[in-house]
């Protein structure tokens, strides 16, 4: 007779993704990088592409992501991940290649590389972590820093007359013909995390099906550099970032829609 206890023991309710290593991350308490890594790893496991995937990591807090993903990986110069990914993907057409980049890496120093990777319709996937600040260098203003937001290089708050306006890069990339899938999600609540995973699944499937460039922007927390607690930082995303960076599908190409409808 199977007891309730046996049943519980046999039912896997939680598993370490095969696409993640057992290495503890260096991320700060309350940082959402860990959640983003796990979601990507789950998607890779579910698509059963771990041995065929190469990750291109950025300069920034995620510079050590190659230690955490159980994948072949390279570490790109600051902002150049889409160019390196292009070199890898073109050379290994049957491999899955994705970049994992922060807002400084992708939306400041790497704008040319990301825009032209999209314009060429490179069949790669980009996971874009937007936490509105430079994390690794200690909290400077990013291209995505909100108007009025205090950082160490905008100590009186971002003055748009001096520092210009934040860049909504995913909306911008959605305008490019080569982009097949460009959406923004957030990691501030369980509901949004579930939606984020679905978007990542669509983005990787877009590449697996050879459709073209896909990007998922994830609004993320940086309690350390924002100077607030982890719970408050999740609320800060919801209250301040989401109104400025709406959680929308900015582009879902017909080819992706067809793929999603299972046709």
């Amino acid at each position: 007779m199977v007891t309730l206890q046996d049943e519980l023991v046999r039912t896997v309710v939680y598993e370490h993704p095969k696409a993640l290593t057992e290495v503890p991350t260096h991320y700060c308490p309350g940082c959402t990088h860990g959640i983003a890594h796990r979601l990507v790893a789950e998607v890779i496991d579910e698509l059963d592409i771990r041995e065929h995937t190469v990750v291109v990591v950025p300069v920034g807090c995620a510079v050590f992501a190659y230690d955490y993903f159980n994948l072949d990986g390279v570490e790109a110069p600051h902002g150049r991940a889409p160019a390196m990914a292009t070199g890898i993907k073109r050379s290994l057409r049957d491999r899955i290649v994705f970049t994992y980049q922060g807002d400084g890496d992708l939306a400041a120093i790497g704008t040319a590389e990301i825009i032209h990777a999209a314009a060429r319709g490179e069949n790669i996937t980009t996971v874009f972590i937007n936490n509105a600040i430079y994390g690794m260098t200690g909290g400077q203003m990013a291209p995505t820093t909100l108007p009025g937001q205090q950082t160490t290089s905008s100590p009186r708050g971002r003055d748009i007359r001096l520092a210009g306006n934040p860049l909504r890069i995913t909306e911008l990339l959605a305008q490019i013909d080569g982009t097949c899938y460009a959406v923004r999600r957030s990691l501030h609540s369980v509901r949004e995390i579930r939606r984020a995973k679905k978007a990542l699944m669509t983005a990787f499937r877009t590449q697996v099906n050879g459709l073209g460039f896909s990007i998922v922007e994830l609004l993320s927390s940086c309690p350390t550099n924002w100077g607030i607690t982890p719970p408050d930082s999740l609320k800060w995303i919801e209250d301040n970032m989401v109104p400025f960076y709406p959680l929308n599908d900015f582009k879902v190409s017909d080819s992706v829609l067809t793929m999603e409808s299972g046709a």
Binding site: R50, E51, H52, E75, R80, A83, G87, S91, A112, R120
Partner: protein
């Protein structure tokens, strides 16, 4: 195989294809654009990779990616574009992976002009980016040599897992000469360090990040040890009339080729002049230079198309033993054989060589 009339840039491009080039990434810039144009046709025809990048910065990082993926890869540019690529060179050197870069140098600094120059000697033979390393640099003086050295560049890059430059100028790149193209080589297999998907094996990482002092110093020592092996084994040079030379002209590429005419003219005047033409700019052919000075060379004239860059390497080897003078032209000017001979005559007088004393 019969010789065909070929333009330098096209010859280098086709030689790269024959050497098994699998992925090319570049950006148009004069005077190397025919190289990119030839590959735009040939690589696609052969179902290999050709991408015209959005910048030289992107091009070298695409090369970096392709090199990590384990394929034979290269880019080509000219001086201002090579300046932009310095970031990528440094990362590639730190990652200890092979690639080939062609630099068809032009007059600088700045936008300068598109005339022949050797103003990049420092930029390519020193570090070509931040940190401690030197790329292997090959300097052809003819279309045939450009073909041969392009093939060699790929082999050396693989052998030492290092960057190899082939440097020329508009004259080498645009000139047409008869040359023989080698047969097509098979594509080489992926090396056992390539990041090409962890199928049935532990994952591999290629990174230039080395946060600990010990780790970073170890990585540097490993690179320096390898450079020392290159320095001991890969010095190459060509010579003309050096057997009894008492005045030695040193010049590479276009300058070396012009200087060869000067040697002939000086010999007709009865002056014991010879030419040492470095083929590897790094490693500089210091052993051969040392032995020539030990065997009777009394004075040296370095001919360069710059304000005097290679002359520093010459002085490092023999600067304490013999006088070393410069014949330098800048801004895209090519030295003239007569002008070089004139300076050779002055040097001959200074060291007490007259036609009579020689005969």
């Amino acid at each position: 195989m019969t010789a065909q009339l070929m333009k330098g840039n096209v010859a280098i491009a086709e030689a790269a294809v024959r050497a098994g080039l699998q992925a090319y990434f570049g950006y148009p810039i004069t005077p190397q654009t025919e190289l990119l144009e030839h590959l735009a046709m040939r690589m696609v025809e052969l179902d290999r990779v050709f991408v015209q990048a959005e910048s030289e910065v992107a091009a070298i990082n695409m090369v970096y990616g392709a090199a990590c993926a384990g394929v034979r890869t290269m880019t080509s540019s000219s001086s201002p574009g090579v300046s932009l690529m310095q970031e990528g060179f440094s990362y590639i050197a730190a990652s200890e992976i092979p690639c080939v870069i062609v630099d068809m140098m032009r007059g600088g600094p700045g936008l300068g002009n598109i005339q022949p120059s050797q103003g990049d000697y420092f930029q390519v033979t020193r570090s070509a980016g931040h940190g401690d390393y030197r790329p292997i640099v090959l300097g052809p003086a003819s279309v045939q040599e450009a073909i041969d050295l392009t093939i060699l560049a790929f082999d050396l890059a693989d052998k030492y897992r290092h960057l190899v430059f082939v440097v020329g100028d508009g004259l080498i790149g645009q000139m047409m000469e008869p040359a023989v193209m080698p047969e097509m080589r098979p594509i080489r297999p992926h090396p056992d360090w390539a990041v090409d998907g962890a199928v049935g094996r532990p994952k591999r990482i290629i990174t230039s990040l080395n946060l600990t002092t010990e780790g970073c110093e170890q990585a540097n020592k490993r690179i320096q040890a390898r450079l020392q092996i290159i320095r001991e084994n890969e010095q190459r040079s060509a010579e003309y009339d050096t057997e009894d030379a008492r005045i030695l002209i040193i010049g590479y590429g276009t300058a070396g080729r012009v200087a060869q005419s000067s040697v002939k003219m000086a010999r007709q005047m009865g002056l014991p002049v010879g030419l040492l033409r470095p083929i590897t700019l790094w490693p500089f052919p210091e052993d051969r230079l040392r032995s020539l000075v030990d065997n009777g060379v009394e004075a040296i004239l370095v001919v360069e198309m710059n304000a005097g860059q290679m002359i520093e390497d010459v002085r490092l080897v023999v600067g304490r033993d013999v006088p070393v003078e410069l014949h330098g032209r800048m801004g895209g000017a090519v030295p003239l054989p007569d002008d070089i001979v004139e300076q050779v005559q002055e040097i001959a007088a200074q060291i007490g060589l007259t036609r009579a004393s020689v005969v």
